[in-house]
């Protein structure tokens, strides 16, 4: 019988012994579901939740006031609440919590849950459901949210008995942040909130028979990988967001420095390795540096760490790293061999694996290899300098460079989706780990502002700036949250790159779709007046000379602030690999 090697070692599993431990300070007593939920959230150490009340959630909101330690941020749209909780989770590596009522409240969360799912973000979404007797009758505001979110959650539950509530919440939090993190949804019917049960306190451990992530890589495989790395002539590290979720920053730097291996960071991996490091090659793929794509292509050993070979990274798979042997390290066994075959697969937590691997990796230099890469990089450096140095307009690349200079390496930057996202990725020199928050997998417009709210609330040190860089398109998808920023005094700083068009779509129309600019010109309000109408301080910048001063002013303003940068309409993100094309065929200049 061929027993399929169980990739995540499903033996006896409990949460015991893991760092996720609940603080159990509760006196057992008879309690209703709503209070049980609050007690559970407290025990999990939840401080901030993003939610919106509604009919079936009323029993919960009835008791929320008894728990002042649970700060509830009333968002203006559940989607934004989901993104804020997602970013809160990413930037703290703890679980973000969002809530929505049944029906539309729950479906409004769907985009945010899918975003968190694609980017492996620890999120718990709590939704209200109609009363148990009403389920399945097409009741008012009833929707099958566990059915809807089935493919976009790590797991979800509909709690049909108040007795199961505490254990389900425990499971949800454990699941969301263990192994490969992801969103978990718990759907709670109104009368489950209302019925009472004996509550013995938050469970300290739960059993999940079918779940036990493998945190430690296979020793022999790691040894093999070390041998391969030691023999490599042209090694490259290609890392993703897994380094961040695992907190393996030092281990990554140690591997790179010990064996002198250049490091390429995927979009989601950015900020896990300092951009200014002499071994950093920045981002690969569609809008990556030419030198980064060349380095992957010419490498003999490709060390893929906590990444999943997304199509925006690889371009055409048939031409991707054809001559490289691939060492693939990831905590999710299903990622290995999904898109790119692995010569040496290692399933485990990045930090643990690298700690063992680094011991067997020899100190080495790769002078010739680095010199070759530096040669490729010259072209990139020249192009970047030319982009930066243009008179009479406001180059977006220049704005980002100025932002970095004024804000410093401590700043946390969230982005929306589109051209500005790529410019930040290319030009913002990330220094601090986990300081770049972006919807990379799903590419969700409207993510930037609520994500910045989540980060601002998560980062206690108010001296650390939190900015969102967004476009005039994406900003308009969730601008209603300006009101939330004012009501709850959330000091986010907003930089809108306004070019009056959906820039990235227009760029594709320009290069691949016959310059037919259909539906990409987009109007907006006067953003400065809009901000002022909400009671938010705002500036408009049109001149290069004003950029640094205004960023400084906005950053120091004691409240939320908005800066609109008026940038050219036809500006493009370069280089650019045509979709489905080979990474070696990047366009460097638009016609």
């Amino acid at each position: 019988m061929t027993m399929i090697e169980n990739p995540i070692g499903k033996a006896a599993r409990t949460t015991a012994g893991l760092p996720i431990q609940a603080d159990n300070r509760f006196t057992p007593r008879e309690l209703d579901g709503a209070r049980i939920l609050c007690e559970c959230l407290l025990a999990e150490g939840v401080e901030t939740m993003f939610g919106y009340p509604g009919g079936v959630l009323l029993p919960l909101y009835q008791v929320l006031g008894e728990y002042p330690e649970l700060r509830h941020i009333l968002v203006r749209h559940e989607q934004a609440g989901g993104h804020a909780a997602d970013a809160y989770g990413r930037v703290t590596n703890k679980v973000g919590v969002c809530m929505g009522t049944s029906g539309p409240g729950a479906t409004n969360l769907v985009t945010a849950i899918a975003t968190a799912h694609m980017d492996s973000s620890p999120l718990v979404a709590i939704t209200g459901q109609v009363g148990r007797a009403m389920i399945g009758r097409d009741s008012f505001q009833e929707t099958d949210i566990t059915g809807i979110t089935l493919p976009i959650t790590k797991h979800n539950w509909l709690v049909m008995d108040t007795k199961d509530l505490a254990e389900t919440i425990k499971k949800a939090f454990y699941l969301a942040q263990s192994g490969r993190p992801g969103p978990v949804l718990v759907d709670i019917p109104k009368d489950v909130f209302q019925s009472k049960t004996y509550f013995a306190g938050y469970p300290t451990e739960v059993k999940l028979r079918g779940y036990s992530p493998n945190y430690f890589g296979h020793g022999r495989q790691i040894k093999q990988a070390a041998i391969m790395i030691n023999q490599a002539q042209r090694p490259v590290i290609l890392h993703g967001h897994g380094v961040t979720t695992s907190g393996a920053y030092q281990e990554l730097a140690e591997l790179a420095e010990k064996a002198e291996i250049p490091v390429i960071s995927t979009l989601q991996g950015l900020s896990a390795f300092p951009s200014a490091h002499r071994l950093s090659l920045g981002m690969p793929g569609m809008h990556g540096g030419i030198h980064a794509n060349h380095a992957i292509n010419e490498s003999d050993v490709l060390i893929a760490i906590g990444m999943r070979f997304d199509d925006r990274v690889t371009g055409n798979l048939k031409t991707f790293a054809r001559n490289s042997k691939v060492i693939h390290i990831d905590i999710d066994p299903a990622e290995i061999g999904k898109n790119v075959p692995a010569t040496i697969p290692i399933v485990g937590d990045i930090k643990n694996v690298l700690q063992v691997l680094n011991k067997s990796v020899e100190e080495k230099t790769h002078t010739d290899w680095l010199a070759k890469i530096a040669e490729w990089k010259l072209r990139d450096t020249k192009r970047r300098a030319a982009e930066m140095d243009r008179r009479g307009i406001l180059p977006p690349q220049f704005i980002i460079q100025q932002m970095r200079q004024v804000l410093g390496g401590e700043a946390v930057i969230t982005v929306d989706v589109g051209q500005h996202q790529m410019w930040v990725a290319q030009h913002f020199e990330f220094e601090k780990a986990n300081s770049f928050i972006s919807s990379g997998g799903l590419g969700t417009m409207g993510f930037g502002l609520p994500a910045a709210m989540g980060c601002r609330l998560a980062i206690k040190d108010q001296n650390i700036p939190v900015w969102t860089v967004t476009g005039d398109g994406g900003f308009q998808m969730n601008l209603q949250e300006l009101a939330t920023c004012v009501q709850d005094d959330i000091h986010v700083k907003i930089a809108i790159f306004n070019n009056g068009v959906l820039g990235m779509i227009r760029q594709w129309q320009s290069v691949f779709h016959d310059k037919r600019y259909h539906s990409t010109p987009i109007s907006g309000p006067d953003f400065v007046k809009l901000a002022e109408a909400y009671g938010i301080k705002a500036w408009r910048v049109t001149e290069q000379s004003e950029v640094a001063r205004v960023i400084k002013e906005a950053n120091e303003w004691p409240g939320p602030a908005l800066v609109e940068f008026v940038i050219p309409e036809a500006e493009m993100v370069m280089p650019m690999v045509p979709p489905g094309g080979s990474n070696m065929d990047a366009i460097e200049e638009a016609e």
């Binding site: 027993m3 028979r209 079918g210 061999g337």
Partner: protein, 173 residues
């Protein structure tokens, strides 16, 4: 993944999963979402309480089947996945067929075929016979082919179920 190529073979996969609400839904949703070619699926209780056993016939290249099993393992309810394709495996399917038998000679022939195939006659009406056959899929197929010319009024098939020969037992543990 659903594109047919020459390297595709039919795999028999046995899955043990916990009896949670929606567990079957999750497995089926996975097939649809990732485009796997499922030819048959049968599911039922096991000797262990709260554990179901599912037998799947999946067509695909080896790498696709490997991905498939990894994706199955990601589902919380899935406890164990075994590929029994290469083993000396007993595979059985059951079918119940209602066939037209309005002439005495056809009735006799159907009874005769049933005997040869060890099929059981479950019911006889004036113009129809209902028979049950259990056996390897090829036998069920051949039996169907023989009965087709009399006119099949209705039929139902279970899909394959599988168990390994010998004394080694598969279980959820």
């Amino acid at each position: 993944m659903a594109i047919a190529t020459a390297n595709q073979t039919l795999h028999t996969i046995v899955v043990y999963l916990e009896d949670e609400p929606g567990a079957l839904n999750r497995v089926v949703s996975l097939f649809r979402r990732r485009g796997y070619n499922i030819e048959s699926l049968s599911v039922g209780h096991t000797e262990e309480a709260n554990i179901s056993r599912m037998t799947l016939a999946v067509r695909g290249e080896d790498e696709v089947i490997e991905q498939f099993t990894k994706q199955l393992y990601k589902l919380l309810e899935v406890v164990k996945v075994t590929d029994v394709t290469e083993d000396s495996t007993i595979i059985r399917e059951m079918a119940i067929i209602k066939v037209t038998a309005d002439k005495p000679e056809s009735r006799a022939e159907i009874m005769q075929f049933s005997e040869i195939f060890k099929a059981r006659v479950l019911d006889v009406a004036a113009d129809a016979i209902t028979v049950e056959i259990t056996g390897p899929e090829e036998d069920v197929e051949r039996f169907f082919a023989l009965l087709r010319r009399y006119g099949i009024k209705e039929s139902v098939r279970t899909g394959r179920i599988a168990i390994a020969r010998g004394s080694v037992a598969n279980s959820a543990i």
